[in-house]
């Protein structure tokens, strides 16, 4: 009988028996110790006869062999250490064992494996420390021995406390035995007994331990365990943390926690403000690359907030992740969101959605979908529409507009949901269907009695896309006038960026800069803000200042179209040291609404290289959803054709005629230069336009 097999194996490092699990997981085909063995046993029988078996996943024979070897070495190292404590083993045997153990202990994995086990329970009275304390040689064994002996009182204390919590509700929900396994596997006991020699040291550990166990148990269990543990420890020296404000050069202030308890009536408000300050400061430290310092402060924040459950911790982590991603540290943002997800005990539908949104914003779409699906499982139905909308927005974020549209079209009574309808409007807009987009937005405003900033902003963007730049500016100014202080900070940021870009496009540079300055106070490390400031500086001749903003925006790392155009322009500037030019960028790397501009960028790069055939090819088969982008492409096409054939007459092209007569002024000037065959001037104007258009 052939049994379908899997890549999962049962390995017993002590008996050395190995078997491959069937794909159904019910049977085991024996592989070792007799390599020719092929007998089949039920899995429960295998486990019953091999009680130390673990289940591992290996994709190759080599990987399996390595896994078996490592498991074997770890278990034998434990045996050797215990033999050194066994009074029945002779010293001459112990000496030989110690030599082998010294070698094994040079592998940190093995060293800490043994520590994890033996630091989790106190040494029984019958064990003998004589050999390891007096006669053992070898640096690693001596180090192990010192730590082991030193930790015994704390091991005993922690073990007693943990046993005493056996029937605590926070423990029984998961099971004492299962939690013990988790604690040992996550090196919790070892961490506490080696690092927690004083009360202050235990307090410093709390954040680290809470994080490690976030996915395992309620953080209040950790707090409780450590509080009990530290009770009888010496006080120790507590570090004086600076009050977390913006600058590092402020003098040391009092422990800021003391500030909170002075006015207990306002404690909640103060706590909130304090947390907000900390969040901003921690995000700032990450943005500056001061990860160690940021992590320390983050640990403190987590420790404090964990006493009230997971919800506040998760919100803080999301908040910091959002700020950090805006500042360009995507990898840190990802890690923080992962940590937020690990607090599964405290997460609800809304929090999962929030985490999902943050993952979406850093383009981790699989993780975002995972969060939305988790939100769905916890939802009692009240958030179903919201979750559905976020999942559709995920398709939009991935550029899969057709799929997103089909999902929207399945929704009944979509007109009853302003949020969903604005989402559909935005999708239409991205697909270039401005008429249907406007219809959605107007419908939302009608439903909301004229008050919906998202719909208003959608209309403004539609105006921009159709080439009505001044109308778009008016509409954005109306938004700020009408909604004033009611706008969410993230919405205000988006609208001001859009308005600034419109000002830049219409060559109102001071107004553009003014809008950016308003955002930069709240988001000093914002990539988009700094990139746009850099462009304005270049446009206004302040190249040195541009340099500073580019450093903050980390331009070389960005792959957005705005940054690509900037790099293209700067590569021509001898003064600029950061840009490195890539000849061609892939259109498929960009969202559909940006591919038109990406095509223009490639055409521009080709024109600079005098490869006019390539320039024309770059503009073929590209769809433009924005009038300005389309006109830019028309001008570039004109440039290439004119350069290849000096007799090419623009009058044959209605689009060119329109641009020359009443098109957007920078493009109008460029077209005129081309009509006069002033190619050098035209290139300068086109490059300048690259700084305006995105």
């Amino acid at each position: 009988m052939v049994i379908a097999s899997s890549n999962r194996y049962l390995v017993d490092p002590v008996t050395k028996f190995v078997g491959r699990l069937s794909s159904a997981g019910a049977e085991v085909t024996m592989l070792r110790p007799n390599i020719l063995d092929g007998g089949v046993l039920a899995i429960d029988a295998f486990v019953g006869r091999n009680p130390d078996a673990v289940c591992v996943t290996c994709d190759s024979e080599d990987e399996l062999a390595q896994t078996i070897e490592q498991l074997g070495h770890k278990s034998i190292a434990l045996d050797f250490w215990l033999m050194l404590l066994d009074p029945e083993i002779k010293d001459v045997t112990k000496e030989r064992i110690a030599i082998e153990l010294e070698q094994l202990f040079h592998d940190d994995v093995i060293y800490y494996h043994v520590q994890d086990v033996v630091f989790s329970a106190p040494l029984p009275p019958s064990a003998e420390l004589r050999y390891v304390s007096e006669r053992a040689t070898g640096d690693r064994i001596r180090k192990f021995s010192r730590e082991f002996i030193d930790a015994q009182p704390r091991i005993l204390s922690l073990f007693a406390i943990w046993e005493g919590m056996r029937f605590d509700p926070l423990v029984t929900s998961k099971g004492h035995r299962e939690l013990t396994g988790q604690f040992v596997a996550n090196s919790i006991f070892r961490t506490i007994v080696t690092g927690g020699k004083t009360q202050a040291a235990v307090e410093r550990l709390t954040g680290e331990v809470t994080f490690k166990l976030a996915k395992v148990c309620d953080p209040r269990l950790v707090i409780k365990l450590l509080s009990e543990f530290k009770r009888d420890l010496p006080t120790g020296e507590r570090r004086k943390y600076q009050a977390i404000t913006v600058a590092d050069d402020l003098p040391d202030s009092e422990d800021y926690e003391n500030d909170l308890v002075r006015q207990p009536i306002r404690k909640t408000h103060v706590l909130y403000q304090q947390a907000e300050k900390e969040i901003i400061a921690i995000a700032g430290l990450y943005a500056e690359g001061k990860d160690v310092q940021a992590a320390n402060f983050l640990d403190q924040l987590v420790t404090r907030q964990s006493t009230d459950g997971s919800e506040f911790v998760v919100k803080s982590l999301c908040n910091i992740a959002s700020r950090v991603s805006i500042a360009g540290r995507r990898e840190v943002s990802f890690e923080l969101l992962q940590q937020a997800m690990n607090f599964s005990d405290g997460l609800d539908t809304i929090l999962y959605m929030q985490i999902g949104n943050e993952f979406r914003d850093i383009r981790e779409f699989d993780k975002a979908l995972e969060c939305y699906q988790l939100a769905k499982t916890l939802d009692d139905g009240s958030k179903a529409d919201g979750i559905r909308d976020e999942i559709i927005r995920l398709s939009v974020a991935k550029g899969d507009y057709d799929l997103a549209l089909s999902k929207y079209q399945e929704i009944e009574d979509i007109s009853q949901s302003p949020r969903t309808l604005t989402g559909l409007g935005t999708l239409y807009r991205k697909m270039g269907n401005l008429r249907d987009a406007r219809e959605c937005y107007w419908s939302v405003l009608h439903t909301c009695e004229g008050y919906n900033d998202v719909a208003d902003a959608g209309l403004a963007e539609s105006s921009k896309q159709s080439g009505n730049l001044h109308r778009a500016i008016s509409q954005y100014l109306n938004i700020f006038g009408r909604y004033k202080d009611q706008l969410a900070p993230s919405s205000e940021r988006v609208y001001r960026l859009a308005l600034s870009q419109l000002f830049r496009l219409t060559q109102q540079y001071s107004r553009a800069e003014s809008e950016l300055r308003k955002i930069s106070m709240a988001y000093p490390r914002d990539r988009s803000v700094n990139l746009q400031l850099a462009k304005i500086c270049v446009l206004t001749g302040r190249i040195d200042q541009a340099d500073d903003y580019v450093m903050r925006a980390k331009v070389p790392d960005l792959s957005e179209i705005a940054a690509e155009l900037f790099k293209l322009v700067m590569s021509k500037s001898q003064q600029f040291k950061h840009a490195g030019l890539q000849t061609k960028i892939l259109l498929t790397d960009y969202l559909p609404e940006d591919r038109g501009l990406a095509g223009c960028r490639n055409a521009m790069a080709a024109i600079i290289q005098h490869d006019f055939e390539a320039a024309l090819k770059s503009l073929d088969d590209v769809r433009y959803v924005d009038r300005i982008h389309s006109d830019f492409a028309t001008v570039l096409r004109f440039h290439a054709k004119r350069a290849m054939d000096g007799r090419y007459d623009y009058r044959e092209n209605p689009s060119l005629c329109r641009i020359l007569k009443r098109g957007f002024q920078p493009l109008r000037s460029t077209a005129r230069s081309l009509a006069s065959s002033d190619f050098n001037i035209a290139v300068q104007q086109e490059l300048r336009f690259c700084l305006l258009v995105a």
Binding site: T15, L41, I76, I89, V117
Partner: protein, 286 residues
């Protein structure tokens, strides 16, 4: 799994009754009991075994091998319970019953399983064969396995360290079974038709299982290899399985035999440690 009717026993000291799953009398707290032996000594099981035994001997009469069968029967009355295992498993077994080690080994097991974490629900992987064997899930963790052996023959699939159990410390809590219970259960989903015995009647189960393999040319020298037959895979081994109920420590051993040539450098240190501990307990090392 077939249901086994709840069996009862009477305490020889206080004369009160209890279910056989009890390992000591709940009334007077006295002696330790072995459920596996109770089941083997059940009248129905005795009768089943007796029938198989007499039928096997009758068959030998027909074949003309009765004398050889009688010799085999006599030899099996002096068979011993042995088990083979690897060095590291032997070392940990030798350490069982000392408080130094058991807690740490249990923690290591928990750690390894938590770290590996590939979706197995370990708590639910209770050996069904043992539950069927004992009639309930009680006490299944108290069973140790060995095989009946003549002249120290053993099943090399399980390791090259051979332990012979002390008859004095085990005879009262050993039962024997027709074949590998794990394999039998897996292949036949039960034990119907198979026989079991207590220690005193182990010769009957040997005859019932192996009499048909005796032939006119069989001699005493062949008996050890007949009683323990190593198959091409561990699943194909043929032997009389021994179930030892209750605790087992190094003092439960009568002797230990090593094949020293096969041990690598790491294992050789374990062997040295095992020998030290065996010597400390006056257990024979062969």
């Amino acid at each position: 799994m077939s249901a086994v009717k709840a069996k009862v026993r009477t305490c020889p000291d206080c004369k009160f009754g209890m279910t056989i799953s009890r390992t000591s009398c709940p009334h007077c707290g006295r002696p330790a009991f072995a459920p596996n032996v109770d089941l083997a000594e059940d009248p129905d099981e005795r009768e089943k075994l007796r029938d198989r035994y007499t039928a096997a001997l009758a068959e030998c009469d027909k074949k003309g091998t009765r004398a050889i069968a009688d010799d085999f029967d006599a030899a099996c009355r002096s068979s011993r319970a042995v088990f083979a295992l690897g060095v590291q498993k032997l070392y940990r077994q030798v350490c069982t019953g000392t408080d130094i080690f058991e807690t740490y080994y249990d923690l290591e097991r928990l750690k390894n399983r938590t770290e590996a974490g590939t979706g197995l629900d370990w708590a639910s992987l209770r050996p069904r064969a043992e539950i069927e064997l004992l009639g309930s899930h009680f006490n299944i963790e108290h069973i140790y396995y060995a095989c009946l052996s003549l002249e120290g023959h053993f099943l090399a699939h399980y390791g090259d360290c051979v332990v012979t159990l002390s008859e004095t410390l085990t005879a009262h809590r050993i039962s024997c079974f027709e074949g590998n219970t794990a394999v039998q259960y897996h292949q036949k989903a039960g034990f119907s038709g198979l026989v079991r015995s207590n220690w005193q009647n182990r010769n009957e189960i040997c005859v019932a299982m192996f009499a048909e393999q005796l032939h006119l040319g069989s001699t005493q020298a062949d008996f050890p290899a007949i009683l323990v037959q190593r198959g091409s895979t561990s699943v194909d081994d043929i032997f009389v399985e021994v179930h030892l109920f209750g605790p087992m420590t190094v003092r439960t051993f009568e002797s230990v035999r090593f094949d020293r040539r096969k041990h690598g450098s790491l294992e050789s240190h374990l062997v040295a440690g095992i020998i030290d501990k065996l010597n400390a307990c006056n257990i024979k090392v062969l």
